[in-house]
């Protein structure tokens, strides 16, 4: 591997979080953008072609080395690492709404979900998945929520636009129209 690819590997290995491209650039101030991109390509390809237990993934606006999913079970069985807990259905629904309609206030979320979401918002906020991004108009100037970079990281998305567009969703509840 080239020295730059090795340096990137060392840095990505040391970090528990994805590293944004700009921060990777700070590792070697003399490397051009093109050189950096080439080195990232080289590293990712090395992991793929050479057959490694890890791979290079672009997500949440940065880069991260992750283990390949085929080894997860064995690692968990040997109790060497544990998968993070799943989000509850309530949390997922609230996140889905915020992801698509941000900035969004609590009242709108409750209107759509039909339940009160105070504690769900609190726990999503504590986990860093959402943040207050502004205040709405109207009475009490309600807090408006949006998703964070950690949201992208959690779902291994590069950008928000990797989610299907609203008009691509099939609102296909018309299963079989039934004669009444």
């Amino acid at each position: 591997m080239t020295p730059l690819a090795k340096l990137l590997e060392a840095a990505l290995f040391a970090s528990a979080r994805p590293i944004p491209t700009e921060e990777l650039a700070a590792l070697d101030p003399e490397a051009s953008k093109a050189a950096l991109a080439a080195a990232l390509d080289e590293l990712g390809e090395h992991y793929d072609v050479d057959g490694h237990g890890v791979e290079l993934v672009e997500l949440g606006g940065g880069w991260q080395i992750l283990t390949r999913s085929e080894y997860t079970e064995a690692i968990e069985r040997a109790q060497l690492a544990a998968r993070p807990a799943r989000l509850s259905a309530a949390a997922l629904e609230t996140l889905a709404l915020i992801a698509y309609r941000q900035p969004l206030g609590r009242a709108e979320i409750e209107e759509i979900r039909g339940v009160s979401v105070g504690s769900v918002l609190k726990s999503l906020h504590e986990r860093g998945l959402i943040d207050v991004v502004g205040r709405g108009e109207g009475m009490g100037r309600p807090l408006l929520y949006g998703t964070t970079p950690i949201f992208l990281e959690y779902f291994a998305l590069r950008h928000l636009d990797e989610l299907p567009r609203a008009d691509e969703l099939a609102v296909a509840l018309r299963a079989e129209p039934r004669a009444i």
């Binding site: 290995f13 040391a14 970090s15 528990a16 979080r17 993934v57 997500l59 991260q64 080395i65 992750l66 283990t67 390949r68 999913s69 997860t72 690692i75 690492a81 998968r83 993070p84 799943r86 989000l87 509850s88 259905a89 309530a90 997922l92 629904e93 996140l95 889905a96 709404l97 992801a99 698509y100 759509i112 979900r113 039909g114 339940v115 009160s116 990281e153 959690y154 779902f155 291994a156 998305l157 989610l163 299907p164 609203a166 969703l169 099939a170 609102v171 509840l173 018309r174 299963a175 079989e176 129209p177 039934r178 009444i180």
Partner: protein, 250 residues
């Protein structure tokens, strides 16, 4: 109409296995409603409201959701729509405002959100199946910064301890009088040289309790006599002893 009969049917049926459901399975009244609509295989644009309302009420009774206001609110809404449906339509069919329209809109909106949830769930599951680099020690919250330690630091610490270490004490309990006059003499000697002193100048590291008590009492006595002033700038800060003007004159 048969809808009333349906209600009776459902109400009298012994709850089938599928009815034994956890509240946790549903993320809200709309979720439950959608599940019912799917199970009943009815058209969302033409919901047989009486039947669905009956099912809904039955389920939340089975679930004993007395405390869940959200579900009860939806039940009330369904019953109101059902009542509106039963009202005789005085005008022509075209002018009729379907009382279910608002509910349908909400269900569709909710359904769309559920689709996104599916997408997120798949993405989240995929990510969950891959591990990131873990730090030491493993913290549930953001990873703690690792420690910077060197062997030489550790050895220096050993050396430091040895310098201050006292012999392991053998606790022979000897009654020992507190020596206040002795302590006052020491304090006076110190204040004769220095205008200001600190508590730690008077009480050596590792002092015996009787020494500490003697110094404390001596200090208080001297302060009372106006030989010195005692001040502590902050809680737990080192106590400062200031030679008083009276003491200086003496």
């Amino acid at each position: 109409m048969t809808e009333t009969a349906a209600y009776v049917d459902y109400a009298t049926d012994a709850a089938p296995a599928a009815f034994v459901i956890e509240l946790a399975e549903f993320s809200g009244p709309l979720d439950l409603l959608l599940t019912l609509i799917r199970e009943e295989q009815v058209d969302i644009y033409d919901i047989p409201i009486a039947r669905i309302a009956a099912q809904f009420v039955l389920r939340i009774r089975t679930l004993q959701l007395n405390e869940a206001a959200d579900y009860l609110e939806m039940a009330a809404r369904l019953l109101r729509i059902k009542a509106q449906m039963l009202l005789p339509r005085t005008d022509g069919e075209e002018a009729w405002d379907d009382p279910r329209a608002e509910l349908v809109r909400r269900l569709l909106e909710y359904q769309q959100m559920r689709e996104v949830v599916d997408v997120l769930e798949r993405a989240g599951e995929d990510r969950r199946n891959r591990f990131a680099r873990a730090y030491i020690p493993q913290a549930p919250a953001p990873p703690e910064a690792p420690l910077a330690l060197s062997l030489s630091e550790l050895l220096a610490a050993v050396d430091r301890i040895l310098r201050i270490a006292r012999d392991p004490a053998i606790h022979d309990v000897i009654p020992r009088a507190i020596d206040v006059p002795g302590a006052i003499t020491i304090i006076r000697e110190l204040l004769a040289i220095r205008a200001r002193a600190r508590w730690t100048d008077l009480v050596p590291y590792g002092a015996e309790p009787w020494q500490v008590l003697s110094t404390l009492l001596g200090l208080l006595e001297m302060a009372k006599l106006g030989e010195c002033r005692v001040a502590q700038p902050r809680p737990f800060a080192n106590v400062e002893i200031i030679r008083d003007a009276a003491g200086e004159a003496a």
